[in-house]
Chain length 319, copies 2
């Protein structure tokens, strides 16, 4: 008796991704002996074609992006990546080449981040592809970075550069000139795993920037029961983003609220600035002070003259 | 600054489901201290509207079914349920009442099975709803039931009754007369959690029946490197399924290959039959011997005269 086609698909494309405990994806569930004495860190993010990515995004980068948006959540908690489960709902006529590319992207990032596939499900949908991934990592007990914990007087830091992902989407959809750097940042975010681990015991609060810097900083401020104020000119931009902004100053709101950054935004005591710089250097990523936390509520973005900028709605919303 | 609508949706409907370690669904990830000295058991299953359920299925039973198809995987491994993560991709115009019903179903089953929500993601899709759930459970090290392990001479057992889910789908779609029992079995499977735990150290191999008895028994046989032979008349049927089959003998293949049973099929040594019966009695579910494992390969289903039945393709396939 022949097996249904999905078994061949799983055996061909996904079984090679399976690691210890995955039981070759042939049992009903996976087995995992968690690292002794560590707290597990778990997150799940979904991506839908046409919403979270462009239908013609290369499947290789798509597989990697699916992993990386989840790894970014681990980075925000200061966790060490461990393994993942994944469910894919794919259009019935999906090409084998597409799946092969998607799996090749996963394989590349498994090697890069030291993780393996534990299990999952492969089903068909009559709609756009819908990809869901659950990531597992671990931290020392009590050590996880949290969103709550910033205090008035703490400084606001952000890793890497902001706005590239949002501008990359514009570049890929013809609303900005083509730009490989920006497109690459949209398609292949860099989860700040090493930095997150270096910030354990150092940052007072942290989260990843996925829905736009202003909105996500608002989460840190709200969790701390205080306000945050940043200078627009202090927000670190890549050279292509600076060039785009120089050509069109109206891009600033998009940069500050557009999302898809997958950088870390975090709070630290002013006296810890040298240690933050050292941690960032050790992690091989830039860290930039962009403002501070204050008594009050909400997020203010100041222009070069110190006047609050009026920004449109705070970030990406699905509903 | 107002938060996007999805935050209200999550706070209203999903945050009440969050348990210890979920950090009120307000951080980037959840924290879980795994039960010391236990092996974690993890599975992920997805359900798509129009594929895995009927678009007009009540949201309450849908939430419960999403949990239960995953719990059934834990049952198949003999695991104790612990917690879950969930991603939901929902059509943009989804009614709040629908989400409230869906969450109420999850809440009911959280109580029934002693689990809580750890985290997840809520996104929009332009296609049919796509629901993905990752379940976590635990077993004693080395104790998990596995698909491999049956030996020639072992007996084939199945829990509960077979075919109700597949016939329920027919009843719900007008291809059979309406039937509350069958419809209920399609919409609300009964994961055999207690039985699975009672079978640890007793069953030589086990899995859950989700893609049809014949196909899934084929997995057990293949994993064991042997054949399986069952008697069609020995397969346990509910009274409504027996009545439907009496009215239309052509329903037999649907019963044996239709899927959506979420029963356990397992192997045990003949001498262990009394212990199996005692385990099933302790778990409060029927267990029925339907055949045996033999040298060779494949699955044979015999009719009352002992002749092999010709069955159509072995089970549900997505691709």
């Amino acid at each position: 008796m022949a097996l249904p086609a999905e078994f061949g698909l799983i055996a061909r494309h996904f079984a090679p991704l399976a690691g210890p405990g995955a039981l070759a994806l042939e049992d009903d569930a996976a087995l995992l002996d968690p690292p002794p004495g560590r707290t597990l860190v778990l997150a799940a993010d979904a991506m839908v074609a046409g919403v979270h990515y462009l239908p013609d995004d290369p499947p290789e980068t798509l597989g990697r992006k699916l992993l990386r948006v989840n790894l970014s959540d681990l980075a925000a908690m200061g966790a060490v990546p461990l393994a993942y489960l994944m469910t894919t709902a794919l259009p019935r006529g999906v090409a084998q080449d597409w799946i092969a590319g998607f799996a090749a992207g996963l394989a590349a990032d498994q090697r890069e981040f030291g993780i393996t596939l534990l299990g999952g499900d492969t089903v068909a949908t009559q709609g756009p592809a819908c990809l869901s991934l659950t990531i597992l990592g671990h931290v020392a007990p009590g050590a996880a970075l949290r969103r709550a914990g910033a205090r008035p007087g703490d400084e606001v830091w952000v890793s890497g550069s902001i706005g590239d992902g949002a501008l990359g989407l514009l570049a890929l959809t013809g609303r900005l000139p083509p730009d490989d750097h920006l497109a690459g940042r949209y398609r292949l975010p860099q989860p700040r795993i090493a930095l997150g681990q270096c910030l354990v015991g150092l940052a007072r609060a942290a989260m990843d920037v996925s829905d736009g810097l202003v909105q996500d900083l608002g989460h840190l401020a709200r969790a701390a029961g205080c306000a945050a104020e940043i200078g627009a000119a202090a927000v670190p931009l890549s050279a292509p983003a600076r060039a785009a902004l120089a050509a069109d100053a109206d891009l600033l709101p998009r940069i500050l609220t557009g999302g898809d950054d997958y950088e870390l935004v975090f709070a630290a005591a002013p006296a810890d600035a040298p240690r933050i710089r050292a941690a960032a250097a050790a992690a091989g990523v830039a860290a930039t002070r962009i403002g501070r936390f204050l008594p009050g509520a909400g997020v203010r973005v100041l222009d070069a003259a110190g006047n609050p900028l009026a920004l449109p709605a705070g970030g990406w919303s699905h509903f």
